[in-house]
């Protein structure tokens, strides 16, 4: 038994941990529990009494430099892909806000990035994957076992163990990004700017969720396109490290308000244009190893929801007001406009607005999140499973109407009896 936790450092559990090195060894022993990559999901979706870690299965299998199709084992990290392929002029088609996730985890969470509104989510670029269900090894794609493919992409590891995947990389001529940062004095302006720049490949806004009144939702909108000029240099290792848990009282409403204010005001001009390396553009927090320790020993959670476009400004305003009133502000709040969702049963993105908020765990937090749930539900939105640690079964089932289809398929393959996480049990899967 080992002590294990995920990125939010809550909960901390005892688990049997197994790190198979080949898919054969996975099939010989009937594996049960949940597959886990680098443990960057925030809550309990990669926690179970039995955990199958993919870190030994981290090899590249083939690469076609005509088409950019890469095949690799599921334990390969995005960090590793960048190190090997940026120098050859290839980049990830979709990347989340950290490069320290595995391919298996990126598919299971069907992660999205700053380009969702134009290029979709990670699994939209996956052409096929290999899944172990029970003692069967199944190839899944949009043509072969398509129902299993669409259940596995975004399926949180609950359909089986992903062992290999093939997906497309995108060609680049430079490792740099032409960035534009635009100030938005409130939410309305921010949403208008998203609309105005909807053809830009990468866009995201950092939002001050503690400002109120006329300033409610003031933001910095960050836009980017791959540059044409600049060398194909890879990133360096993070230089900074958070050596231990920071005392948790240091993050309080005053310090968070001060940080948010300073961050918004650090840029004086209404618009700044520059060229920066992909690493600070996509992965600003990867530069500080173990940054999750900033939230103290009790851990933290991220509340990320999406509400449909029609709920728009009204819905976001209602939620931002509730947060600002609670004074349980979040350091890093991120707003993004999603494009259309895909056919996967449990993928998070849908056309609309998504907001991600970090909260330090304390006694009052879950009550606030329950209140936010009610608002999200009212606007027919849903929460991101990879960030969640506390949503109720009702909230999940209301937000993900395809859960029944998903569950039927799991039963058909016998996956429901083998693969489960603390989260899947909590939300009734």
């Amino acid at each position: 038994m080992k002590k294990i936790t995920s990125w939010g450092k809550y909960p901390l559990i005892d688990a049997n941990v197994n790190a198979p090195s080949t898919s054969k060894s996975l099939m010989n022993k009937k594996q049960t529990g949940i597959a886990r990559g680098l443990g960057r999901s925030y809550g309990d979706s990669a926690l179970s009494e039995n955990i199958i870690i993919s870190e030994e299965m981290n090899h590249f299998i083939s690469f076609d430099d005509e088409t950019g199709l890469l095949s690799c084992e599921a334990g390969v990290s995005l960090d590793n892909i960048l190190t090997s392929f940026v120098p050859k002029g290839w980049f990830l088609s979709v990347t989340p806000g950290t490069k320290f996730v595995t391919v298996g985890g990126a598919i299971a969470s069907d992660v999205h990035g700053k380009n969702h509104h134009v290029e979709g989510s990670f699994s939209d670029h996956v052409t096929s994957l290999t899944l172990i269900v029970n003692d069967q090894e199944l190839k899944c794609s949009r043509d072969e076992n398509p129902d299993l493919f669409h259940a596995t992409c975004g399926g949180m590891g609950l359909t089986g163990i992903i062992t290999e995947a093939t997906f497309k990389l995108k060609p680049i001529t430079s490792a740099y990004i032409n960035q534009k940062v635009v100030k938005a004095k409130n939410l309305e302006t921010a949403l208008e700017l998203f609309e105005q720049y909807k053809d830009v490949t990468y866009s995201v806004a950092w939002i001050d969720c503690l400002s109120t009144g006329d300033n409610l939702g003031r933001s910095l909108l960050m836009l980017g396109e791959h540059a044409d000029k600049g060398e194909l240099t890879t990133h360096k290792d993070g230089l900074l490290n958070m050596p231990c848990d920071m005392p948790s009282f240091l993050l309080n409403k005053y310090t968070i308000q001060a940080f948010n204010s300073a961050y918004y005001n650090k840029q004086l001009k209404a618009e700044v244009n520059n060229t920066i390396h992909y690493d600070p553009f996509f992965y600003p927090l990867d530069g500080i190893n173990n940054w999750n320790r900033m939230y103290g020993g009790n851990g933290f959670t991220q509340y990320q929801f999406v509400i449909p476009k029609k709920a728009g400004k009204e819905g976001l305003t209602e939620i931002l007001k509730a947060i600002a009133e609670s004074k349980q502000g979040s350091f890093l709040s991120v707003l993004k406009v999603f494009g259309e969702g895909n056919k996967n049963n449990l993928s998070f993105p849908m056309e609309g607005y998504t907001l991600a908020l970090d909260f330090k765990l304390n006694d009052k937090l879950f009550a606030l999140l329950d209140r936010l749930d009610i608002i999200v539900r009212k606007y027919e939105g849903r929460l991101y499973l990879s960030k969640d640690v506390r949503m109720s079964e009702e909230m999940f089932k209301a937000g993900y109407p395809q859960w029944e289809e998903f569950q039927t398929l799991r039963k058909e393959y016998g996956a429901d009896e083998l693969y489960h996480s603390l989260q899947s049990k909590r939300i009734g899967l």
Binding site: T22, I61, S84
Partner: protein
């Protein structure tokens, strides 16, 4: 373009070192017991950028096969820039205390087989008058401890052998590096709960590669193990006997 031989190439640390050289388009000659795993690694390193990857199977305790193995590797690559010896096992100490055959087998795997390989390779390196020999030993070889002194004895034997070899080969411009890792988070140590002293194999690999290129002769990896081991070596026996280490 560098030419690299790695023995025990499927071990976690060796694999990470190989990746670093593959990115720099090196020619790699990988030797290990587990041939299916070697094939997987070969594919992986080729995609990462290795110019060529050769593989050869080997059993550390088949001492009479070592000469041919080394000769073939040197013949294939021509000049060898780095020879990394990384194979080994982590013995069950309690078993070794009751079964002398087991103890001897472990001493052979972790100690004698390394010396056998180095004996053949040293001659080749001496002739070529350039290159590096790096061997992964262990901090366990610095002082015998009740929890793993059979392993420690084997590693300590190799370290002392390397001291002499380094002196001898310095005359012909060959760099000999003894790498003594502390706790490394690898499949060999999967059973242990990992604390602050544990290093990832990727990190250890970066240190190894850097020390090779700088012709360093510093062994402790990461470097803070120098402090820990200095203390452990100087703890007086009457105190040492009272602790469980």
């Amino acid at each position: 373009m560098q030419n690299i031989i790695i023995i025990g190439a499927t071990s976690a640390m060796a694999k990470e070192v190989a990746k670093l050289y593959a990115i720099e388009k090196a020619n790699l000659y990988l030797i290990a017991r587990d041939t299916p795993k070697l094939d997987t690694i070969k594919q992986d390193l080729t995609i990462r950028g290795a110019n060529t990857v050769h593989t050869a199977p080997f059993d550390a305790n088949q001492f009479n096969s070592h000469q041919t193995l080394i000769e073939q590797a040197f013949n294939t690559l021509g000049r060898v820039d780095v020879l990394l010896v990384a194979h080994g096992s982590l013995p069950n100490q309690e078993l070794c205390q009751t079964d002398s055959m087991k103890a001897i087998e472990e001493l052979n795997t972790n100690g004698v087989s390394v010396i056998s390989i180095l004996t053949h390779a040293a001659t080749k390196m001496e002739q070529q008058k350039t290159g590096n020999i790096t061997v992964i030993t262990s901090v366990a070889g610095d002082r015998g401890r009740q929890s793993n002194y059979v392993y420690g004895a084997a590693k300590g034997m190799v370290s002392i052998f390397l001291q002499g070899l380094a002196q001898r080969l310095s005359k012909s411009g060959v760099h000999v590096l003894d790498i003594k890792p502390g706790f490394v988070d690898t499949p060999m140590t999967a059973e242990f709960d990992k604390g602050a002293l544990w290093a990832k194999p990727e990190k250890v690999a970066q240190i190894i590669k850097k020390r090779i290129s700088k012709k360093s002769s510093f062994s402790y990896t990461p470097a803070f193990w120098f402090v820990i081991m200095t203390i452990i070596k100087f703890v007086p026996k009457f105190i040492f006997d009272k602790v469980k280490l």
